[in-house]
């Protein structure tokens, strides 16, 4: 199962549960935030029976701290971005 199977993920998404910084410094991209910005990648959980928004938020916080996004980001040294498709295709494994 992919993350996109249980969520809606897109930019310009004010109604999302939270957002990931799509564009910015290498240090910032991929960081989850609670404040809306149309440039950010919005994530809204559609299957609350399977996945809680705050659980996913903290998961993204953890992933951001591991600097995974830095390996996937594209762009110049100062301004990089991550792809919506990379977020959508994250896989989920039931425990």
């Amino acid at each position: 199962m992919k993350l996109s199977d249980v969520t809606t993920i897109k930019t310009h998404f004010e109604d999302a549960d939270f957002w990931l910084i799509r564009r910015g410094s290498m240090h910032k991209v991929g960081q989850p935030v609670r404040e809306y910005n149309p440039e950010h990648i919005g994530i809204k959980i559609e299957r609350n029976d399977l996945l809680l928004p705050d659980y996913l938020y903290y998961w993204f916080m953890h992933i951001h701290s591991t600097k995974v996004w830095e390996q996937l980001a594209n762009g110049t040294l100062k301004l990089v971005n991550i792809k919506v498709s990379d977020v959508r295709s994250i896989r989920m494994s039931p425990k």
Binding site: D54, Y58, K95
Partner: protein, 141 residues
Amino acid sequence: MDKIPDIELPNIAAQQTIIFEQSTVEGIKQLKKNLKAKVIPGQKEINEDDYCHLHFVDNKSTWQAPHADIVGAYFRHFQQCFPEYDTDKKLAHLLCLSSDRRIREFKQGTRKVPYDVWRKFLVITGRAPQVITQVMCFVAR
């Protein structure tokens, strides 16, 4: 996509436990960070000694809503110090109010600031400490 690990998906109860743990960790981090907030000079628009101080009291039964002059002076001072909240709309959002009209009404004195809104503003500006509510139990769904 092999660089991003899979999301481990435990059941909802386990997710809630993790959320409580993580939000507590984040809360403690934020409380410690709060202690290092910058110190800024107070407002100079009015002499606060000319007004009642009961708006500082953390007790709803004795608390009194601040005078409009206090509200206006405090809000304008905050908005000058923090340009990211330089409009009433942005300040309303920070204080979880539905519209900037409320802020204007508070400043003009046509509506009294509710206790919870004022308390939040006092906490944000370091004029009052935060009180953490005790969790007495976890009620299962």
